[in-house]
């Protein structure tokens, strides 16, 4: 079935990104906006914008029924959820299934399977993909005995968490009971699910993820990996592809593992399988699967030439992946910097406000995904992502040089940004050498202090 009109249930740069592909494909776009986003750039770029509610996400972007009603009322045949908000809530996918609206993403059952992190772990194990030693916290006594087997330090994770949320490190076995009690209470409040599980803490590790596309019938291809080790408090700041300095056999094993998970789930649409790679041993462990488009997808697009949003739409139409694994070739290197409205001088505190002046970099191999222009509001209700700057060059050194130039050419006034952080990172020899672990940013920031 050809999709003619898509309702985009998101905001910010990803809304703008999806609108762009809709235009290229001759598909009409309807953007669902909150009151705070009525005047946004994506609201003007879309063929139509409909106001779905007040600024607070709980009253607008998180209301599945309202989103589906907006799609029905505007004659949209499909909904693209973007990332965040309702993208990984099975409720929206299920409502779409009930109302005969195409959900551009996985099935509700697949979202549930990977949203339950313990179940996702079991699926990975069943697909013969290594997971860090661990298991469910059934009772305190069982957790104690499991923790003794795993050894400390270990991580206590929320079954409904993910992306670094709902996670606690336990360094002494004696601390375990209190940590479980506290973490379960927090998880219950945050996710409505107090279930926890334990996993061995992998010390010096890199975060490497693999982009997959599945046709929903057991067929899947991968589009290579992304190294997302440049994180601060589990929030990614910079991503690159390919992962620098990864031994070739390990890279292949990561790709194959991701494909096995996708095939086992008969996964439909674009998804990302995340792994922790132990720097000291080259061992790797399944971390989680994200059943949606990823913020950092453009670096994969930059090296493969594949428009992932267009592939999502084609798969949703039932046209399949449209590529075989041998069709897919990654050429060169790509790097992405996330430009956030946050102040590194004030511990990266979000800095909402009005952007007074802005100029983004341009040039060969430079792409900027943004919803920000002079006069744009950065409302306090949503994330602080202003733009993603993506550069591609034939080799990594060229990519770094291009990104240094791009960051230097970027100017944003009116709100604080992390541009200076990026400049510093790009000038650091350790980052330039490649292959840093997830603790690197904390060490870099501590050096300055």
């Amino acid at each position: 079935m050809a999709i003619r009109r898509i309702l985009i249930a998101n905001r910010g740069e990803i809304a703008q990104r999806i609108i762009r592909t809709c235009r290229e494909l001759g598909i009409e776009s309807v953007l669902a906006v909150s009151e705070a986003d009525r005047g946004s750039l994506p609201a003007r770029l879309a063929d139509r914008a409909v106001c779905i509610g007040p600024p607070r996400p709980a009253d607008s972007y998180l209301r599945a029924e309202t989103i589906v009603q907006a799609a029905l009322g505007t004659g949209a045949d499909a909904i693209h959820p973007g990332y965040g908000f309702l993208s990984e809530r099975a409720s929206l996918a299920r409502l779409c299934e009930q109302q005969g609206i195409v959900f551009i993403g996985p099935t509700a059952a697949q979202i549930e399977a990977v949203g339950d992190k313990l179940r996702a772990r079991e699926e990975a194990e069943a697909a013969d993909v290594p997971v860090a030693p661990g298991g469910a916290v059934e009772s305190l006594a069982a957790a104690r005995s499991l923790a003794r087997t795993i050894g400390v330090p270990l991580l206590l994770k929320a079954v409904s968490g993910g992306g670094g949320r709902g996670m606690k490190r336990v360094d002494r076995l004696a601390d375990l009971p209190a940590a479980i009690e506290l973490a379960a209470a927090e998880a219950g409040a945050a996710f409505g699910d107090a279930r926890m599980y334990l996993e061995r803490y992998v010390g010096e590790s890199r975060h490497v993820e693999v982009q997959v596309l599945g046709d929903g019938a057991g067929g899947a291809v991968h589009l290579g990996e992304r190294d997302c080790s440049i994180q601060r408090r589990y929030q990614k700041l910079v991503e690159e592809t390919p992962a620098p300095g990864l031994p070739e056999p390990l890279r292949r094993r990561l790709h194959e593992s991701a494909l096995r998970v996708a095939r086992r789930l008969s996964y439909r649409s674009a998804g990302t399988v995340e792994f922790l790679v132990d720097v000291t041993s080259d061992a790797f462990y399944f971390l989680e699967m994200n059943a949606r488009i990823q913020v950092e997808h453009p670096i994969t697009e930059a090296v493969t030439g594949i428009d992932i949003v267009a592939r999502q739409i084609a798969i949703a139409e039932g046209a399949g992946i449209g590529r075989t694994q041998s069709d897919i070739r990654a050429e060169g290197c790509a790097l992405e910097c996330r430009i956030n409205a946050e102040d590194p001088a004030r511990d990266f505190l979000p800095s909402p406000g009005v952007v007074s002046e802005v100029s983004w970099p341009a040039g060969p191999g430079v792409r900027v995904d943004t919803h920000i222009e002079a006069g744009s509001q950065v409302p306090p209700y949503y994330d602080s992502l202003l733009a993603k700057i993506i550069v591609r060059a034939p080799d990594r050194a060229g990519t770094l040089a291009a990104m240094r130039g791009a960051i230097a050419a970027t100017r944003v006034t009116g709100v604080a940004t992390n541009l200076a952080f990026h400049a510093r990172l790009l000038a650091d020899p350790e980052f330039a050498a490649g292959g840093v672990d997830t603790g690197y940013v904390a060490r870099l920031l501590a050096r300055a202090a």
Binding site: R48, G53, E65, P380
Partner: protein, 164 residues
């Protein structure tokens, strides 16, 4: 978790220094809503949050808010409760029905006299019906939304001329 008067004063100061009209703070089951005088009414509390304790304080508007925002599509009409005209706006996005069922006479027509709690229409969101009330005593002067139309959040549905 409790907030002292000093905390509220400090938060009020932060709002004054910012470019925002409204602040909504939620801490351990306690919520604080702050709004500058003269800015649009605080968004109606939804059913899910209606039972939360709520403290409302108003801060003087220290300066005009710089904004690049231009509303697109149908305009949200600010509720101007002092004027003779009262506009009833959609409390949520949904399909607007002027009558309780197809073929039935409309709830109100132009010229109908309404009380604040008179039902003027129904909004449907996924088979869930929300009644919309006039919110003022007066006479229906204008009906702006068509029966069966999708209306956006904040869209003007009808205008009432107040009767003193």
């Amino acid at each position: 978790m409790t907030l002292t008067a000093k905390d509220v004063a400090e938060i009020t100061r932060l709002l004054e220094e910012s470019d925002f009209d409204e602040l909504y703070l939620e801490l351990d089951g306690m919520t604080l809503s702050l709004r500058r005088t003269g800015s649009a009414e605080l968004a109606d509390e939804t059913a899910s949050s209606a039972d939360r304790p709520r403290a409302v304080a108003a801060a003087e508007r220290p300066r005009a808010v710089a904004t690049g925002a231009q509303p697109t599509g149908p305009l949200t009409t600010p509720r101007d409760d002092n004027a003779r005209e009262h506009t009833v706006t959609a409390p949520l996005l949904g399909t607007f029905y002027r009558a309780p069922r197809p073929g039935a006479p409309p709830f109100v027509e132009i010229g109908s006299e309404v009380e604040p709690d008179t039902v003027i229409g129904i909004l449907e969101v996924m088979k869930l019906m929300t009644t919309v009330r006039a919110g003022a005593h007066g006479r229906v002067a204008q009906i702006l939304a068509d029966d069966g139309a999708l209306v956006e959040y904040g869209e003007a549905l009808l205008r009432v001329t107040r009767i003193d």
